[in-house]
Symmetry: C2
């Protein structure tokens, strides 16, 4: 079935196209003519060893000569070509799993095998952004029931590597975000590992927030570790705090999360599948999940939190995890810093027992570490918090944290961003409200999380009595442009912090 | 707010990126660093006159030098740059209408102003494929009620040009596809215009079928006409048969339809909005809609057809159109040809009253033309078909058709594709079933509609008594590769035509 016109020579163009694989072909080539370019065409590109699906972009200049073909950098990487190799192009056979996506769009219930086919094709790179977005949207807005969420979670676990720590108890934690600055994880891992439990923590990068745990930890140490390296770190120190994506744990999650970010949505089903698939694939057995509740947190009402708690625990059981959900206060940011570097500074400050360390961050970390110690049944019920507090106060947790960072590759001191503006109170009164979403937006506009040292250093808390002219917070940015952009948003939104 | 690093010189790269605008920047440029490349980043690119939103692709070679910026061909066209011009890049301000898309994902009802904001931003090019797909999916599967469909339709009408023919009665027709070869439109327009009514017909290209009316007409004449040119043709001949997209009527529809095609879905709400917005924007007042019903047609059951009829007529009234829906037989393909050229041959054959002209196509055209004549109240109820038949038989309709083609720019004779295979019956028996979807797929795999002369020439009908070895149909393709691809599908699907 191969025609001469479908055999082409690879030329390296050096174009990195976000997440979708792209193939570049001349407008006068056979494929551009026969497949029809305007139809959002996708084709299969192969060498003798492997193949990939790619979206067709058409070259209308002499960037490619007759008989040449180009690939986006990641597609070339997948096919392991660098220049001069022979490639074959062919029609894209229908992607069968898309019939399940269409069924879901029409409100039909999917089973494990349907989710499994979808997730396998997603990991293979066969879905375009259009297909990924349709899948995410069709599953969002409470359109998956608990069986479907369980089946999706199982399919996501099976899609990548699965770690086995050869331990009876492997603990983990997760926080359902939405609370800027709530960076308890590094402290909790340090306490729990210092106690002697195994806690191999894999974290996501930010989806819609100014920093994820992986972003924050990357300020202090390496977080992009192979599965083998993670095993070394955990065997040596009992814990780690790494980025989950690099370990190929639930790789479908990493693909879906980028599209969810572009859509700026987190649906309950995808959220549960995302969190629990990462946990199960990472080999965890006992997991504590923190759901902060507040008007402007990700979970807004106690009712929603209770439903999420119930679903999380049910799906956990279905995939073989012991899950305990803790519902916490989510009415204001935690700690002082918002943004990777500023949050890393808070974390170190708590671990070092510094006098001005943020007390709210410390108390949350102690609570969660205590819950984990109790869930593991190694510490008697009711004594978790006390044990955690002692490990923190003694310096054992800090020592353990430094050891983990070094085992992961380095320990670096955080460095603040060079461009700053102080935002001061324009009137006196009581601090009545901090809008988590708007302050997170402000931190994102200043550059976080991509600009690691960008963000906000918060100087006040709910119910503080504020004097006119008092420093409310400092904006940090890595360039004047980003700082200006954040300031523009500040000037148009007077209700980020409300004083009455 | 403009930094030096955001001012760049445009270099023409010659890359045509399907429908999404793309901006190319070096990996070491300010924007790639500060916006974060992995986040499916979109930025704004401006010159002094206008601006556009584009997805960022990163150049990792010397294709661009320091200080240079590239654009995909259509984005360059929008900004009217050819090379050497100064461009400015800036952060993308949040796209406010996406909050309505998110609300719809979460099952909230949208009103006219929400749809209007969404459609305006879509036409402006501000939505990525991810956003378009989410909007389509969130509105699919019966998730819009009748008010929402009306409001979406109105928003789509308002998004483009609206023609006013200064006539009391302007008639139109539309067929809810799914029936291969059902190319009545050119015949109906010819009959109705020959009668003296005004029928400015704008048609879509194929969404998921092997040919749309615009694809078929393009074989015979020009269909990409400006609004001004369409007016000329209609004033001269009383009718036209053109592609709707080029006339900027309901331009949002043309963008949405490509993404729907990639998803291979047609949802009821989008379908109604698509059809009626085109009709209303084209200045029609009286519209006949043909819904073929059959197991493998687009509308599968009489119940679905009756619901669609009711919704179509209700939405029609809401947007000021007099709509009559005719439910017809959709159990098998119509005519002999499937594919643009082969269907064009059928159309000419009926118009020329040729002896072997497909009778089913002729009877359908006469029925629909009769319904239009009666809906207009120019012809007495019950006498529409007879009048239509006379206009066809007399040659008046053919004469009118040739005049319309010439007014649109040319009349070309259709030319058959060079590569053919005859498919013969493997046993004797009665022809029990023709799978519309599978035979359409076969025609598509042979190259239709992009390869205009590709497709299928069908030699048999339902309930025919077939002899073993009798010719069932001929496959036509423009290349051996496409023919082989269709044959591969044929060999794996013995139930395209069932003989028992």
């Amino acid at each position: 079935m191969l025609e001469k016109s479908n055999i082409l020579k690879y030329k390296h163009l050096g174009i990195h196209t976000q997440n979708e694989y792209v193939v570049y072909m001349r407008e006068d080539c056979h494929v551009c003519i026969s497949e029809g370019f305007e139809a959002l065409t996708r084709i299969r590109v192969s060498n003798l060893k492997t193949s990939t699906v790619a979206s067709l972009h058409m070259i209308t200049s002499e960037v490619l000569l007759q008989g040449e073909i180009g690939l986006s950098d990641t597609a070339a990487e997948k096919l392991r070509v660098t220049g001069g190799e022979t490639l074959y192009v062919s029609h894209l056979e229908p992607i069968d799993s898309l019939s399940h996506v269409r069924a879901k769009i029409y409100n039909q219930k999917l089973d494990y095998s349907a989710f499994s086919e979808i997730i396998t094709d997603i990991v293979e790179g066969d879905y375009s952004n259009i297909h990924l977005s349709a899948f995410i949207t069709a599953c969002a807005g409470d359109r998956m029931d608990i069986d479907e969420i369980s089946d999706l979670t199982k399919a996501m676990i099976a899609s990548g590597k699965q770690l086995d720590w050869k331990k009876e108890i492997v603990v983990d934690k997760h926080c359902i975000g939405g609370l800027p600055g709530n960076r308890t994880t590094p402290i909790v891992v340090a306490i729990v590992a210092a106690y002697g439990l195994t806690m191999p923590k894999t974290s996501s990068r930010a989806i819609t927030s100014p920093a994820g745990t992986a972003d924050t930890m990357e300020v202090l140490t390496d977080v992009t570790l192979s599965a083998e390296k993670i095993r070394e770190v955990v065997e040596m120190e009992g814990g780690c705090i790494v980025w989950g994506g690099s370990a190929q744990l639930s790789p479908a999650d990493d693909i879906l999360i980028k599209v969810e970010k572009a859509l700026d949505i987190d649906s309950e089903g995808q959220l549960i599948a995302s969190v629990l698939s990462k946990k199960a694939a990472a080999g965890s057995t006992h997991v504590v999940i923190d759901i902060p509740v507040g008007e402007t947190a990700k979970v807004r009402t106690p009712k929603m939190a209770r439903q999420l708690k119930e679903h999380m625990e049910t799906v956990g059981e279905a995939v073989g995890l012991k899950v305990k959900v803790v519902i916490t206060d989510g009415t204001q940011p935690v700690g002082k810093g918002i943004g990777p570097t500023l949050e890393a500074i808070d974390v170190l400050s708590v671990l070092k027992n510094e006098e001005n360390a943020p007390n709210d961050l410390k108390e949350r970390a102690v609570l969660l570490a205590g819950e984990i110690l109790e869930l593991s049944e190694k510490v008697e019920s009711g004594k978790g918090s006390t044990t955690a507090r002692q490990l923190l106060k003694s310096g054992n947790a800090y020592e353990k944290f430094l050891a983990i960072c070094k085992a992961q590759g380095r320990f670096s001191q955080p460095v603040l961003a060079p461009y700053t503006v102080e935002i001061k109170a324009e009137k006196s009164g009581a601090l009545k409200r901090i809008d988590n979403r708007k302050i997170a937006k402000l931190a994102k506009l200043s550059g976080a999380p991509q600009s690691k040292s960008a963000g906000i250093l918060l100087n006040v808390h709910l119910n503080d009595e504020i004097e006119k002219g008092q420093l409310l917070y400092t904006l940090y940015a890595e360039s004047q442009g980003e700082l200006n952009y954040a300031l523009e948003y500040y000037e148009n939104h007077y209700d980020i912090i409300s004083i009455e």
